[in-house]
Amino acid sequence: MKRLVAIGFMLIVALSGWSKVHIPDSVMHSDGLYVDNMKIYSDSAIFQGINLKLDIFNTIFYLAKSKADFQTYEIALNARLKNRFYPTLELGYAQGALGSNAAIWNGHGGWTTVGLDINGLRKHRESQDALLVGVRVGTAVQQYDLTQVPVNDDYWQTTPSTAFYKQFHNDWWGEVVAGCQVHVYSGLMMGWYLRFKMLFTRKTTSEAPIPYFIPGFGYRDYTQWGINYYIGWKF
């Protein structure tokens, strides 16, 4: 596990460093300026392209942590508006089994978040890099089984545990995010996000067992932290 984290960290440092030393090639074509084969939009253009990003950190992290019992996948799509505003749509899917001291969650579900990031870097026509802060609203729907749920029966000990099958649950949360994305070469980019998440659906009036894991949010708690490391492509 430590080795995996160390390799991931070195990858981040190495690839970020590479992006800094790379000197872009600027070429003027008939339809505008291109840097590393990427079109550079004029400052007056509102729409300046789309970024499609794939989160690799959580996929690898959860695969390693759960010994391949749990998988999570996430893609993000954001549009560049005036190289300042980045309306963002993120989609994810998780499936597998995760244990806790109290029970075992086995389920699958999808989530989506929508929000807006603002690029804090000074506008530069040829720069594709961005330092981002933003907010998100997220929702997840899941189907799950909760098994080995303990039953309080210390004296008779007739039913040590019970299980709930094919349960459905929907959760909502909000996020504050901060991160960056850097241009590497041609359309290739990478970046990371640090996320602070606040669960809105803390209480439930339902008497059904609520899942202790929420795809896209993490373990059910009032707040949760998250991190993404993306690779992506600019269009």
């Binding site: 309080n152 007739t158 039913t159 202790y212």
Partner: protein, 152 residues
């Protein structure tokens, strides 16, 4: 390592809720002093209780017991106990419904019950009255053991 900690934030799974569920019984014993004045005693001065079909005692010659908590079987609809007081043993049988209730992820489930009927022998017990037939988590008194102590 910090990244790993961030992404593995798992809330603590310690249960902090009251999870005890059982029939709560209280004594109402009328006794007379030397002037033949009647008084009501609400605590057993020595009580032994064991669930029938169980090897362990719930109360073992316990002193000054103001209330008994009688856990109910979730796998059957009748739960019986042997209750020894003043050197006499009575059998108390509670006929009940069982309903599973999920409390929380940390605490798991409990069974709550509804008392349908109470059956008992009458060695030291005169009467058992039902105060509340709902046996809930954190509930109140369900049954009273009514007894009139012999005049000494």
């Amino acid at each position: 390592m910090g990244i790993a900690l961030l992404c593995s934030c798992q809330p603590d799974t310690v249960c902090r809720e009251t999870m005890q569920v059982g029939v709560i019984g209280q004594l109402k014993e009328t006794y007379y002093d030397t002037d033949m004045q009647s008084h009501v005693r609400t605590a057993w001065d020595s009580l032994t209780v064991q669930g029938i079909d169980s090897d362990s005692l719930l109360y073992n010659n316990s002193k000054s017991v103001s209330q008994v908590l009688l856990p109910i079987r979730s796998d059957m609809d009748t739960t019986s106990y042997a209750m020894t007081y003043c050197g006499c043993t009575d059998t108390l049988s509670i006929v009940h419904n069982n309903e599973q209730r999920f409390v929380s992820v940390e605490c798991g489930c409990v069974y709550e019950h509804a008392i349908r009927q109470v059956l008992y022998t009458r060695h030291w017990i005169d009467t058992v009255t039902i105060a509340s037939n709902e046996v809930l988590r954190g509930g109140g008194v369900n049954i009273y053991f009514i007894r009139e102590a012999p005049i000494e």
